[in-house]
């Protein structure tokens, strides 16, 4: 589906080949010329500042050509919170080409290059990554990503905000391997029911999956504190003061919010990305990547454990300028290098061309990131309430084949049909039991049956939306918590789901999920960039796809048996 037909040629006669090329999906994508004066440029602009730093009396008094009296609030926050005053003058004196080589050279440890990075200014970091081509950027990501084991995140949403659909698709996404699941709403008032669907479905699919519901701050925090969701991500930050203020926040308000989440034991990451400032008309003449590096340093300064970046909802902007996708890979590298968890984009509809969608994905998928997609649409894109993703359910088999072709772990696996049907059905039945016990509008057997075999929201019977919204309100009014849901699941015959859910809730007591890049394994072991720190040090080291996991990824929907070539491997 697209907004317009392919561009009609003028009356000039064209060759048959040109007609074919004109009709190619890639020509439905938009491309624009750079305009560096306005910041419509990926990462190489004469209008970006030159690196500089000066320290007086233990305080940074000059940053990238500006003295403290000229600082905007981003400069101030970065100077006072992000950059190590003790090391910055030495770090800044290191030639950029040396630092770029350290990022690529396996003989330089992650620890050393991360330590050096603590003393660099935004312009210096830009100066370094400008020296790197996309393969070198991938080398850098491979070394600097914080968690050793890569993971992936899915969206589970519904065009009709149908909580049964969200539960069934969450269960399928979880069993396919996603470590985190994210939802959002068309009608915001549906949030409690959809967030419950996401959590319950997730725990049916695979115990320990973490879930979140993207909403405005107050409601998002409320659902988290009730234990209906497990983490938060949509806390946006921007690279210029003017756009930050347009977003009605400052680095200090966001830093305060970061602590608020941690104080409730809830994992949280910020969100930023190239292109947002120029999209909002206030890039202040800086390149997209320069501004994104300021966001990354702001996030680091706030002490938030991680960042979702990789242009995110503005991907059409860097995607349209020369070198834009290189810049997007570079922003993921910088987030990783600055020792933050990086949920690396690939999460918005990006191109009409399947070839281009794949090439945009490889700089994150091949080196591995903390979350390759943030997220992958675990529903058909037409049901994706984040406005569509770069990958959706139709791409599951392609993804699995690419993992097998390249021997790369993108966090997913092929799952047999009977297993998928079983978890979808169980998720819907668990929701049916919960709704009955909570006096919410009944979920019929017909709906459970539909959820088991459905693809999209079109395949479900329509629900009485007004009654559901009334039910959603009552869930909030009655103060229903995650623990209430655990109890109901336990007494209605879903004891294993209840155990999984309770185990997720217990994590808040330990605070273990607050550490960088933390996820939960199926055995409820927190895996963070501490006990699973990335130890890549060149060929033969770091995360290698091998053993049981590699055997798992060799399985596809159709593989001819070697033993009996007349049959397929099951």
């Amino acid at each position: 589906m697209t907004a317009v037909a392919p561009r009609s040629g003028a009356s000039v006669q064209t060759s048959k080949r040109t007609e074919i090329l004109e009709a190619r999906p890639v020509n439905l994508d938009g491309f624009v010329e750079e305009w560096p004066e306005k910041g419509l440029v990926a990462m190489e602009s004469d209008y970006d500042p030159q690196p500089s730093v000066r320290v007086e009396d233990g305080r940074i008094v000059e940053l990238d050509g500006r003295t403290r009296d000229q600082f905007d609030f981003m400069d101030t926050f970065i100077a006072d919170h992000a950059i190590d005053v003790d090391t910055c003058e030495d770090a800044m004196a290191t030639p950029s080409v040396e630092i770029a080589r350290m990022l690529v050279d396996p003989r330089t440890s992650r620890a050393d290059v991360v330590a050096l990075g603590r003393g660099l200014t935004p312009a210096k970091i830009l100066d370094v990554v400008k020296l790197m081509n996309v393969v070198e950027i991938m080398m850098g990501i491979q070394k600097t990503r914080s968690r050793r084991t890569p993971a992936n995140q899915a969206h589970s949403t519904s065009a009709k905000d149908n909580p049964i659909q969200v539960a069934a698709d969450a269960a399928e996404a979880a069993v396919r391997g996603f470590a985190e699941l994210e939802t959002t709403l068309g009608v915001v008032r549906y949030a409690p029911l959809v967030a419950i669907g996401l959590q319950v479905g997730g725990q049916v699919g695979r115990g320990g999956v973490l879930t979140q519901c993207a909403l405005e701050e107050a409601t998002e925090l409320d659902l988290g504190m009730r234990g209906i969701t497990a983490y938060a991500e949509t806390i946006s930050i921007y690279g210029t003061e003017s756009v930050f203020v347009d977003g009605d926040d400052t680095p200090w308000s966001k830093a305060f919010l970061a602590s608020a989440y941690a104080s409730r034991g809830i994992k949280m990451r910020f969100t930023s990305g190239t292109g947002s400032e120029v999209q909002m008309g206030n890039a202040e003449g800086r390149s997209m990547l320069y501004l994104e590096i300021r966001c990354i340093l702001m996030a680091k300064g706030a002490g938030v454990q991680g960042l979702q970046n990789g242009s995110i909802s503005c991907i059409g902007v860097p995607g349209a300028v020369p070198g834009g996708i290189r810049a997007v890979a570079a922003e993921n590298l910088v987030a990783s290098w600055m020792d933050l968890e990086c949920a690396s984009g690939n999460d918005q509809s990006f191109s009409h061309s399947a070839m281009r969608r794949t090439s945009r994905l490889l700089p994150q998928m091949l080196p591995g990131t903390d979350f390759v997609c943030s997220g992958y649409s675990g529903v058909p894109n037409k049901d994706n309430m984040f406005a569509g993703s770069n990958l959706d359910t139709e791409d599951y088999d392609d993804w699995n084949v690419i993992q097998r072709d390249m021997q790369v772990d993108g966090g997913l696996r092929h799952v047999r049909e009977d297993v998928i049907l079983q978890v979808r059905n169980k998720a819907a039945r668990a929701m049916q039991a919960l709704f009955a016990e909570l006096d919410l509008p009944a979920i019929t057997d017909e709906e459970v049956e539909a959820a088991t075999y459905a693809d999209s929201s079109d395949d479900y019977p329509d629900r009485d939306a007004l009654a559901d919204l009334e039910g959603a309100r009552s869930v909030m009014d009655r103060g229903i918590t995650g623990l209430d849901l655990v109890k109901i699941l336990e007494r209605t015959g879903f004891g294993d789901v209840a155990e999984n859910y309770l185990n997720v809730l217990r994590q808040r007591v330990s605070g273990d999920l607050l550490q960088t890049a933390a996820v939960l394994t199926g055995d409820f072991v927190p895996l963070a960039a501490i006990n699973d720190a990335n130890d890549y040090a060149g060929p033969g080291t770091g995360y290698r796809l091998s053993g049981e996991r590699w055997e798992e990824l060799k399985k596809l929907r159709h593989v001819t048996s070697a033993e009996n070539p007349e049959e397929e491997v099951v």
Partner: protein, 141 residues
């Protein structure tokens, strides 16, 4: 507890050092069982992180060079004492042009005196100073 030495090997605390953890009502991690949930012994109040635990997690973060994350954990430890509504109200007060210098100072004092939250108070005072310089304070009535 506040002097406990921690190294990266202590992480995850829930597995390697459960004896250091407790709920806000004083229960051990092992007390959070399904039976205790069903019988009502464990309530939602138990499923919160304590300031002590946040301090421990902050120390682990600092032990692997994550100074800012450690500081965030310390601010969070202070914030556990602040009721939910008030945390959100303070966040809203920190938005651009939402508060006057006097209002921000009032919040900082309250953080310091009522909630014993000096690190958070410091963050608010710092914001007040920057907002004044950048014309981001509310107009005084």
């Amino acid at each position: 507890m506040t002097s406990t030495e921690l190294t990266p090997a202590d992480y995850p605390l829930s597995i390697n050092r459960p004896e250091l953890l407790h709920t806000p009502t004083g229960k051990a991690l092992a007390d959070i069982t399904m039976d205790a949930v069903v019988s009502g012994e464990v309530t939602n109040e138990d499923l919160r992180v304590t300031p002590d635990t946040l301090v421990l997690q902050g120390r682990i973060a600092e032990s692997v060079g994550r100074r800012q994350l450690g500081e965030n954990c310390r601010r969070a430890a202070e914030m556990t004492a602040i009721p939910d509504d008030e945390v959100l109200a303070m966040y809203n007060a920190l938005r651009p042009r939402a508060s006057s210098a006097a209002q921000l100072e009032e919040i900082a004092s309250r953080l310091e005196n009522t909630f014993s939250a000096p690190t958070c108070a410091g963050l608010v005072r710092e914001a007040a100073e920057v907002y004044a310089a950048r014309n981001l304070l509310a107009e005084e009535d």
